[in-house]
Symmetry: C3
Subunit: 219 residues, 3 copies
């Protein structure tokens, strides 16, 4: 039951690209964590497919596309093999993880929103599921690698680009302006926002720490 907002072919192509770049980010983190080739393959799989599987389970689209579409299944393995043989020098891996992760974030916040909407959800929950699709894979990746998800860390602006991208898509659908071009633009906006946030080290405010905490931070 693909959305007719995109042609099925375009939707599928974008999904595969998103899966590929997320799988690269998962595989690279596995390299940095010193996992072996199977750990690399598994982390590539769950990072690439985790967000979409989460969304599909939540909207009742089971079995998830990840288990019925061979492209979804094998693309992360190709990405894992590439990472295994061609990963960059270790000190550059973090940057590469972030770059590919940003690309996946942009693509998935758009395609996730569209698919949820195509399954009959309202615009707000569709956008929320778009964010969950975009962020879910990375959260699973970070939890399995035993680190606090980028999604939550104060020194990362991660949720915002996905929220912006998903909200743009919801607004475009609302005002009947969604098409391949505006959808792709939304993905690019989210992608670029995330890259800018990394490049310029944007930070969001943290809660005001009163008394003891204030003293700590004064010290």
């Amino acid at each position: 039951m693909p959305s007719d907002l995109y042609t099925p072919h375009l939707q599928h192509t974008l999904d595969i690209i998103g899966i590929f770049v997320f799988a690269i980010s998962g595989g690279l983190l596995a390299v940095r964590k010193n996992f072996d080739i199977f750990g690399i393959a598994v982390l590539a799989q769950v990072t690439a497919l985790g967000g979409g599987v989460l969304r599909d389970v939540l909207i009742g689209a089971v079995p998830p596309a990840a288990f019925t579409d061979m492209w979804f299944f094998f693309t992360p393995l190709v990405a894992a093999a590439l990472v295994f043989f061609l990963h960059p020098e270790v000190e550059r891996i973090n940057k590469a993880v972030q770059f590919f992760d940003a690309a996946g974030l942009g693509l998935f916040c758009v395609t996730g929103t569209i698919k949820a909407y195509a399954y009959g959800l309202g615009l707000v929950p569709s956008a929320a599921l778009g964010v969950a699709t975009a962020a879910g894979g990375g959260v699973v990746r970070d939890v399995l690698a035993n680190q606090v998800p980028s999604l939550l860390r104060w020194d990362e602006i991660y949720a915002v680009p996905a929220m912006v991208g998903a909200t743009l898509v919801a607004l475009l659908i609302r005002f009947d302006e969604f098409n391949a071009t505006t959808g792709t633009l939304s993905a690019v906006v989210a992608f670029v926002l995330r890259l800018l946030a990394i490049r310029f080290e944007w930070r969001a405010p943290r809660a005001w720490h009163r008394s003891s905490a204030a003293k700590e931070s004064d010290a």
Copy 2:
């Protein structure tokens, strides 16, 4: 498909209260972990909605209420905003997390059991899902914040109050004595049990550590 054990309105009100207090507990933990405003919002959301979404996915009630009911979606954001501006001094946050978490635990072990029963599960699995609903959000919260869930730590009595509350509800249903009053009482029992366990530092027995371990603990 709301249960007719509670009126839909009462069930909904209790759900919203439970979501609110759990969201407060998630938001406060995010403050303690130094997450930014978006991390606070996300952790409030997953803590508040995680248990219910888990239950809904398991009983096949998809999309979960969290994605179709705007109250469910926005209540945690209100809670997150409150926490952001009004959180207590840092050294008091732990106590506040525990208090609100206990309130959510009490409410959700009751409403979770009822909803599972309303979907046709038996009394034992309904009570188990009540416990999962009550404990699930906190587990997701703790896993994302990279700490061992309270549910499992030996220095916490966490599962027991939820089990007592859910079992009470199952027994009340079994003997046809479930109504708004007895249901609310069950929630209060679980809530008070949890608070007493914290206040008096109740502990459950750990496994008997033989030989080497025994020696260690003798030392």
Copy 3:
């Protein structure tokens, strides 16, 4: 909707044995982590049932068998009680965890593949879900206990035995040679492979660490 590849009775018996041994492994890890009796029970439950629940949610078999079959629900509690009273000396627990975990891995990669296939999935996704069923419970166990899953660690060969077992089953089905004997043999192959991997400390290759990393490992 049990598979007719095994008789329902045999399938059920194997499931219960798998649940029992996985529950033992979860309970023992809980003992090592110093959790109390309820933590032991909970970790036994999620380890034993996690993989199967994951598979059932993904193939749309909700509520999962874990919530409708009393054997599934109570077997882990029996295992938890056994662990509580009879666990081995602490220094031997790790070995015992690994032994029982290996037995569960072998059984579940077979029964998981069969059940997914019985629900209409293709052979490749069925095998993938077999691996997920086998590995899922252990991953949830390790994530809750706040350690990197064996599935991913480079010093463990964990995924491979499950992949071999699940692939054997898929091939047996493909060539119409699946029966109780060949199925059980597949489980034994996976089990023995995992034990051999532990005993002889087999390792899989890690990614080639260039420059800085290479220097590190030379040092």
